[in-house]
């Protein structure tokens, strides 16, 4: 029986209990982050001065308790999680786009162009990029779109390398020769033939990029360089909780547990996906 790469990868992925469970958990967390806040009567920005820093409990629907200003932590954690997830997705898409185009051009065009482009990657890879992200977020101020872009700009180097490697082998294939013979231009060949064929491994790597980027965003927000008050992401909530943990540990525990669960499950799922696509183990 012949099986395509995709269907055999799906079969192998679903046979892996860790990947299956973590996919379920991630899906549940996403659903919770999207519809969860509506299930609670409290709003994220409302200050409930009669219930400042109260314990988690059923009273007044403060299920995860409240923070120093009486804001409901259940709603704030979920809305913060939503912000973190959006940053993760958008920034991963940015780095996916950059890496795909850069890698495909370098790999397909080859020769001198490839040498120069890969040399640039090598130099950029040697730089402490996290410090440049800190720079950029400070220079361009509190612009959240820029935050997405600069976070995404960190992740694309490895992706570009992977895509280039794939593109190098693809350009020797017969269908590329056929496309050249039928008069297709370089840009068209890259778009129509090279990009669709490198997508498999790239998607795997992009899945592993998402948790890294969520982590980076939380890190920046924790340092006060990311999402700004009164909006919150998981990172800002954790920073707030770390300052209050002696008197009110739940302010740290609620966002900390959410972030931990999300990152662990995304990583396990990404690993499972990589194993499922890994041709070394197949056969």
């Amino acid at each position: 029986m012949t099986e395509t790469v995709w269907s055999s990868a799906r079969r192998r992925l679903l046979a892996n209990p860790g990947a299956r469970i973590s996919l379920g958990v991630v899906a549940a967390l996403v659903v919770l982050a999207v519809i969860g806040p509506w299930l609670n009567p409290n709003a994220a920005q409302t200050l409930d001065w009669s219930h400042v820093a109260t314990d988690p409990g059923m009273a007044h629907a403060h299920w995860f308790g409240t923070d120093r200003l009486g804001r409901d932590l259940y709603v704030r954690t979920l809305e913060g999680a939503r912000v973190s997830m959006i940053v993760g997705l958008v920034a991963s898409t940015v780095s996916l786009g950059l890496g795909l185009i850069y890698g495909a051009v370098a790999g397909y065009v080859g020769g001198r162009t490839d040498d120069v482009m890969m040399r640039i990657i090598e130099i950029l890879g040697g730089l402490p990029l996290i410090f440049f992200v800190i720079f950029l977020t400070v220079i361009f101020g509190r612009n959240e779109y820029l935050l997405f872009v600069s976070i995404g700009a960190v992740g694309w180097l490895t992706l570009a390398r992977i895509v280039r490697g794939q593109a190098l082998s693809i350009r020797r294939q017969e269908y590329i020769e056929a496309a050249i013979a039928s008069g297709a231009g370089t840009a068209r060949i890259i778009y129509k033939h090279v990009l669709p064929n490198v997508l498999g491994p790239v998607i795997v790597y992009a899945t592993l990029t998402v948790p890294q980027i969520i982590l980076l965003e939380s890190f920046l927000s924790f340092l006060g360089l990311g999402i700004q008050e009164p909006r919150a992401s998981l990172g800002t909530l954790i920073a707030e909780g770390a300052g209050e943990m002696e008197a009110a540990p739940w302010i740290l525990l609620a966002p900390g547990a959410f972030l931990t669960l999300l990152l662990v499950c995304l990583n396990i799922f990404g690993d499972g996906l990589r194993d499922a696509f890994d041709t070394m183990e197949r056969g």
Partner: protein
Amino acid sequence: MLRYFLKRLGGAIPTLFIIVTLSFLLVRIAPGGPFDEEKSLPPEILANLESAYGLDQPLWVQYTRYLRSLLHGDFGPSFRYKDFTVTELIGQGLPVTAEIGIAALLLALTLGMLVGVFAALRQNLAADYTVMTLAVAGIAVPSFVVLPLLGLLFGIYLRWLPVAGWEPGSIRHLILPVVALTLPPLAYVARLTRASFLDVLQRPFIRTAFSKGLPLHTVILRHALRPALIPVAGFLAPAVASIMTGSLVVESIAGLPGVGRYLVQGALNRDYTLVLGMVILYSVVLIGMGLAVDLLYAWLDPRVRYER
């Protein structure tokens, strides 16, 4: 071996030069200057300040001046911490940062390799699965979550260790920060070691070693370990980078007087010279680590020396 090293060193110097130039330009094109405050200064005083720090000169004059003083090991005066040079500030904070950083790196490497070998020898048994699941968690959970949780458990509930703070020479204050910094690279090293160990154990020369009747520990120590460590050596530079990045937040949570806070504070205050000094310091450490890794590769795998 020497030629190989010199070639690598020759490649590192232009990289460092590019880093210095890029970061110099980046901080200078940023809007806002180091003397912007809530209340704006009278123009005469601002002009005096700028000429005192040489900021009124054309950019390329400032740049060549900065490069020249760098070559003398002088990072220039800090714009915000008055009466301090950047070299002095870094000199004060670096011992603390280096102490926790080096401790974390050594712990991560030794424990990570031990755990990795242990898991590999029990491949697909319960112990292996447990350890590797913990390793995923260790990689995924950031140190700025781990450290407050450790503080909550050991500092507030059990009262064994201080939550934060620092005293000269006190080891107790450093334990939790070091643990928080160690966990992510430890988990990574464990995973790498396990994977490469399993790979090496498949090779013919290991079968030969076993069939000669050598005991397990001899096979591991004399034959399997060295080739299995090659991927781990490759992780050294990323490990150092992860520890340095982690120490930015760990130092601020634990209230340690290291250099980590200078980068964020300096960037927020537009303290140009301090930020530049920090980026250059971190880059030198990273590039130096890269060189060390190249040498280590050449020692672990002799084939590397003859490539290209």
